[in-house]
C-alpha cells in the first residue's frame, strides 16, 4: 500500500470514529435506562434493608452512566451541522467544568463537612462515578440549553 493511501485510510477510519452517532431512537432508550436505574437506586437506598447490596450499587452506577452516554451520543431527529457544532461546544464546556469540579469539589466537601460538625469527614478525592456523572449531566444540559437558545 502506498504511503498516501495508507494515510488516507487511517484518516477515514479516524473520522468514522469521530463522527460516530447512534440513531435518534436511542435517546428514548437511554432515557428509559436512566429513569429505571435511578428508580432502582432510590429503591435500593431506602426500601431494601439488610444484605450486601454494594455490588448492586456499583452495577446501577455503571448502568446510569451507560444510559447517559447513549443519550449523549445519539443523533437528533434532524441532525445538521449546527446541532453537531452545538454538541461539540457542549462537550468542550462539560470537559472544562468537569475538570474544575474535580479539582474544587473535594475541598468544598471537606470544608462544608468540617463547618457543619467539627472534626468532620477526612479529605477525600471524588470517585470516577461522581465526576463522569457530573460531566455527562453538564454536557446534556448545555446541549439542550444551547439548542433551545440557538
Amino acid at each position: 500500500m502506498e504511503k498516501d493511501s495508507f494515510v488516507d485510510c487511517e484518516r477515514k477510519r479516524l473520522y468514522k470514529v469521530i463522527n460516530f452517532r447512534l440513531p435518534s431512537q436511542f435517546v428514548g432508550i437511554g432515557l428509559v435506562i436512566c429513569v429505571l436505574t435511578t428508580a432502582i437506586m432510590f429503591f435500593r437506598a431506602f426500601a431494601m434493608d439488610g444484605g450486601d447490596t454494594e455490588w448492586l450499587k456499583l452495577l446501577l452506577q455503571k448502568t446510569l452512566l451507560v444510559g447517559m452516554l447513549i443519550m449523549s451520543v445519539s443523533k437528533d431527529k434532524i441532525e445538521d451541522e449546527m446541532t453537531m457544532s452545538l454538541r461539540a461546544q457542549s462537550y468542550a464546556i462539560a470537559f472544562i467544568v468537569g475538570v474544575i469540579y474535580a479539582l474544587v469539589m473535594p475541598y468544598v466537601e471537606y470544608g462544608v463537612s468540617n463547618v457543619v460538625h467539627s472534626g468532620g469527614e477526612a479529605f477525600k478525592s471524588l470517585g470516577d462515578f461522581q465526576v463522569l456523572l457530573f460531566m455527562l449531566m453538564i454536557q446534556l444540559m448545555f446541549y439542550h440549553f444551547l439548542k433551545r437558545n440557538r
Binding site: I78, D80, E81, M82, S85, K147, R150
Partner: protein, 66 residues
C-alpha cells in the same frame, strides 16, 4: 457576517421550513443563519446558492467586525 437570506427566501415565497427541508437542515438552523447567530459551512452556503440561483457572495457579506 451578514446575509440577505430572508429577502431571497421571500422572493421565492419559501418559508423557513420549506428552505430547511430543501437543504436538509432544521428550521431553527435557518432561523439562526438569518439572525446572523450562526455562520453556515461552505457546503450549506453552496446549497443555498443553488436554491437561490445566485453566487454565495450576493447574499453573504463580510461585516466590519470580520
Amino acid at each position: 457576517m451578514e446575509n440577505t437570506i430572508k429577502v431571497e427566501r421571500a422572493i421565492l415565497s419559501l418559508t423557513q421550513g420549506d428552505l430547511a427541508e430543501k437543504i436538509g437542515v432544521s428550521r431553527q438552523t435557518i432561523n439562526s443563519i438569518e439572525a446572523n447567530r450562526y455562520v453556515p459551512s461552505t457546503v450549506l452556503a453552496l446549497k443555498l446558492s443553488a436554491i437561490f440561483g445566485k453566487p454565495v457572495n450576493q447574499f453573504f457579506k463580510l461585516s466590519d467586525s470580520d
